[in-house]
Amino acid sequence: MEPRVTSQPNFVNPPSLAVWVLNLFVLAEKADSILGDLLEEFSLLASKLGVASARKWYWRQTIKTVPQLAGVGFRTAPWMTGAAVAGGFLLRKLVAPLVDPSIFAVLERYQVFEHHFSTYRFFASTGLDVGHFITFLCIGFIVAFSAREREMVATMALGLIYGGMAVAGAVCIVTSTGDDATLWRLTWYFADSLAIVTAGAIVRTHRLAATSHPSNA
């Protein structure tokens, strides 16, 4: 839902990244009002104070407005959003234990250990992490598809839950065993949370593109 450029010669667009972020969270029935208001004030500020000041103002508005939009998104459909998050959590519980055995089954099937040891070593270490990352990405897609219009709220909630669990688990391990090497694993766990949220952003962006106005020139 990019703002249309008009034929007025001095029309300036607000920061497109900020507009994209707002579009990730705004509900369809509110988009016209909120995005239209921001564009109108942005244009006024750009003509009065210059484009740079107007862009800073637009980013401040975006950062302050996104949490409000997320809150409204959740409050107007708490059960659907909660069900999508719970479903994603359960799906991960079901699917995640299958990732490692599946990768090892493929490695065994094609006798990778015997014929390509370095490849085996890669897939048996980093490959497992990548496999989990892709699994979380797929779970994120499913959660986003089911949380219609609340894709970001649902995927961010699930990502925060997993991120929180990872931190809690790492802290428990480090304090009980003293092994702080576990902490470097947090980067992969945070990457898994990021995968869920990324999937939400992809689904949302795709849906917006599919329903956008016919002429965006």
């Binding site: 009002s33 004030e41 302050k64 939009l69």
Partner: protein, 110 residues
């Protein structure tokens, strides 16, 4: 107490802004009016979240205007205070007056 709810702080400010703006009240003008009079930057998200809540309570109503090119072809959403909303703001205002009676506030332009 049912039917005798008081407005929250920001709800109160929003309704007062709508009363000042009359037919001109939509997101931009409401936000600018609040910023001008309270001297604090207010996000458009906070304005609409509060307006939606007030509309759910029946204190304001809204209608869509025509799309305009300076808004990228998007329409404005105008708001008006209902009789129920006017009663709520009056009730809240009188409650604040009774609470501050005799406290000796001096009004300064902070």
């Amino acid at each position: 107490m049912r039917g005798r709810d008081y407005l929250g702080e920001f709800e109160h400010i929003i309704v007062l802004a709508l009363l000042r703006l009359e037919d001109r009240a939509y997101g931009v003008t409401v936000r600018q009016e609040i910023e001008l009079r309270t001297r604090r930057e207010v996000s458009i998200g906070a304005v609409y979240a509060t307006l939606d809540r007030l509309e759910t309570k029946g204190y304001v109503t809204s209608h869509r205007g025509e799309p305009t090119p300076e808004r990228g072809g998007r329409s404005k959403r105008f708001f008006r205070v209902t009789a129920k909303g006017a009663a709520a703001v009056s009730r809240t205002h009188h409650a604040l007056q009774r609470m501050t009676e005799g406290l000796g506030f001096t009004w300064s332009h902070a």
